[in-house]
């Protein structure tokens, strides 16, 4: 039992389970899964599906935070990718292209643009030596402007059936988006586990100077992680725009950076770098989505969501703070002393 509790994923999983079970108690049908028309339906599937874009971004954010970085431009990058995809499809369709060409061109263009955004961030951090929050602030401010420049300020609607599959399609009865998340997660997990990348990332995050002196080339690894973060936001942009069959440069991915950071923190990664958990971040994203769904389903005004998230962040932060630990320990000790003290008196 003690070992179970000590596992880093215990608390995030427990929180998620608690949320789902509580929902199940209030609303007996909540946990039910149905097989209809060859598709799996149910609230759980819904939560996972809706969490997919956030999950992807959280994976990227986890890697950046692991090397003591931060990317607050992910929301803007998502909007750029979505717009680029929609624009590419419209352009190719206007040119008379048919079949699957527009689909692959859109995916390629959107991911390319998003990766470029990540590279820009990475170079500002590593080459120009800016603080990550400042470096990515620039793209956060300008990014939506760039997206609007591409879309000419319009919400681009996508009239192209194959593209809808990304965000709405089912594969083996399960939403396709879940396969995308699973694929990225597995690939990343393998990359980190099977190559030495995981070791290097943790070494840089824990002690950049010692890693440098041991020959780890952080100046090459760090930009690559920003590129990955950008690309994962781009992938999320594809899912989002496909899901609603449009790209809104102004509102797509609004506040996403905050949710992603929250997911990383909820998943048990240290916001100061070094210690990270990809699975934890996925669970964090699921918690956030489950929370949103819960609030909708129990009929509380959806605005409570923000307040709950805020309190969650505050709690997680305090639990991670060493000083808070010390204070709590001192309090507990004093409490136990007080309890014992009367017993000592004759």
């Amino acid at each position: 039992m003690r070992r179970l509790v000590a596992h880093p994923l215990f608390w995030p999983l427990a929180a998620l389970a608690l949320l789902l079970v509580a929902n199940g108690l209030f609303n007996p049908g909540f946990l039910a899964l149905q097989w209809r028309d060859g598709h799996l339906y149910g609230n759980l599937v819904d939560i996972a599906n809706r969490a997919a874009p956030l999950a992807l971004v959280s994976l990227g954010m986890t890697m950046v935070i692991a090397v003591r970085g931060l990317d607050i431009s992910v929301g803007a990058v998502l909007a750029i990718a979505a717009t680029v995809a929609a624009w590419t499809i419209a352009r190719l369709q206007a040119g008379g292209a048919g079949g699957l060409l527009p689909l692959f061109a859109a995916i390629g263009a959107a991911l390319g643009a998003a990766a470029l955004c990540g590279l820009w961030n990475g170079l500002l951090v590593v080459k120009a030596g800016m603080q990550p929050i400042v470096a990515t602030l620039i793209l956060m401010v300008a990014g939506r402007g760039l997206a609007q420049l591409i879309s000419d300020g319009q919400i681009l609607t996508i009239y192209y059936a194959p593209y809808a599959f990304l965000g709405n399609g089912f594969l083996f009865g399960v939403p396709f988006a879940l396969f995308v998340v699973a694929a990225v997660f597995t690939a990343l997990q393998l990359l980190l586990g099977r190559t030495a990348l995981g070791l290097f990332v943790r070494a840089i995050g824990h002690n950049p100077l010692a890693a440098h002196m041991a020959g780890v080339r952080a100046r090459a690894i760090t930009p690559a992680l920003y590129v990955f973060c950008g690309a994962s936001a781009g992938l999320a942009g594809l899912l989002v725009s496909s899901n609603v069959a449009s790209a809104d440069a102004n509102n797509a991915g609004q506040m996403l950076e905050l949710d992603a950071i929250l997911a990383v923190a909820l998943g048990g990664s240290a916001l100061t770098g070094g210690r990270f958990s990809l699975a934890g971040s996925l669970i964090g994203a699921l918690i956030i989505q489950a929370l949103t769904t819960t609030i909708y389903s129990i009929g509380v005004p959806s605005q409570v969501n923000l307040v709950v998230k805020a309190l969650l962040v505050a709690t997680v932060l305090l639990l991670q703070a060493p000083r808070f630990h010390l204070q709590m320990q001192a309090l507990l000790r004093r409490a136990s002393l007080l309890r014992r003290a009367p017993a000592k008196q004759p």
Partner: protein
């Protein structure tokens, strides 16, 4: 002292000052402002009219107030992402109290100011006591304030109270027919008070000292911990005051007011020459930072053919420019 010697001293002093990154940055901002004004004057008729420039202040009064608070936060090396949300919360609180609960606007304003200050204080305590990163704490604050605003009211509430509309209509004549709104006057007062506090009080100087070296500041016997908390309280107060001005300006309260305003405030502070790493910058610079941001919008409005999104792109580009400039200046030192 002979004139020659005096001139030499002056030259030396100016040479030294030229090496001061803060002064250089401020000079660059003012030069940018003048240059943009001149370009506007050449390109568009009626651009150099006094009212155009007074409108910069009128339309950006709330941004200016927030940016002054943000300047202090950034001078300590911190950041406050909650200010936009606090503005929204304040407008909703005011509108709700006045329109739905029959409060006098003045009383509601005082309460809102107190609420904003308390809110900032709590965030400051979390940052100072538990050594939490400012950006995450104030991020949580942003969620909380927006959430609280929507809890009070999801829909926009119009304010029709006579006092409030009277405030909104008040104009202070400046030159000829040109005039300033009450909000703009308040913002200018905030700038002046901010500049005096930053330069002439122990609190202000401690803010700078913390930004230079928190460790040294503590060794010099400066009240580091209380100053850190008070900086966030000040920023909370400024955000609430900006919310009050916003509600006078728009005569409404809405939880989606001022989204992304914190980014504009940070951009204004940086473009105004304050170092994001803390310790160097001036409140006066922030005034010009806000004016530059306003001028970009005015230029785009005067042009009429440029789309609004160019504002964001230009602000982003300026941000990049000034960040790189700061890196260069710091490195050269």
């Amino acid at each position: 002292m002979s004139t020659a010697a005096a001139a030499a001293t002056l030259r030396m002093r100016m040479a030294r000052r030229a090496r001061d990154p803060a002064a250089l940055s401020l000079a660059a901002t003012i030069a940018l402002f003048v240059l943009m004004s001149l370009i506007g004057g050449v390109l568009y008729d009626g651009f150099l009219a006094p009212q155009v420039f007074l409108n910069l202040l009128i339309d950006n009064a709330f941004l200016l107030v927030i940016a002054v608070g943000m300047t202090f936060v950034i001078l300590t090396g911190g950041i406050d992402l909650s200010v936009g949300a606090v503005v929204a919360f304040t407008t909703v609180l005011l509108a709700s109290l006045v329109e739905r609960h029959g409060w006098h606007p003045l009383a509601a304003m005082l309460l809102a100011l107190a609420a904003g200050t308390c809110f900032g204080t709590v965030m400051g305590l979390m940052i100072q006591r538990y050594r939490l990163q400012p950006f995450v704490v104030t991020l949580a604050g942003m969620f909380l304030a927006r959430g609280a605003a929507t809890l009070i009211s999801v829909d926009s509430i119009g304010i029709n109270h006579g006092f409030q509309t009277a405030l909104a209509g008040l104009r202070l004549p400046v030159i000829g027919a040109a005039s300033l709104s009450i909000g703009a006057v308040a913002a200018l007062v905030v700038v002046v008070v901010g500049a005096v506090v930053a330069r002439g009080t122990q609190f202000g100087r401690t803010v700078y000292a913390i930004g230079g070296s928190e460790h040294s500041a503590a060794l010099m016997g400066l009240p580091v911990s209380s100053t850190l908390v008070r900086v966030y309280a000040l920023s909370g107060f400024c955000a609430a005051l900006a919310g009050v001005l916003y509600s006078v300006y728009t005569l409404s309260g809405y939880s989606l007011h001022a989204t992304g305003l914190e980014l504009d405030a940070i951009a204004a502070v940086v473009i105004g020459g304050t170092l994001l790493t803390g310790g160097s910058g001036q409140v006066l610079g922030t005034l010009f930072g806000v004016l530059v941001l306003g001028l970009i919008q005015t230029l785009i409005a005067f042009d009429g053919t440029l789309s609004s999104w160019w504002t964001r792109i230009v602000i982003g580009a300026l941000l990049l420019l000034f960040c790189l400039l700061q890196r260069l200046l710091v490195r050269r030192k």
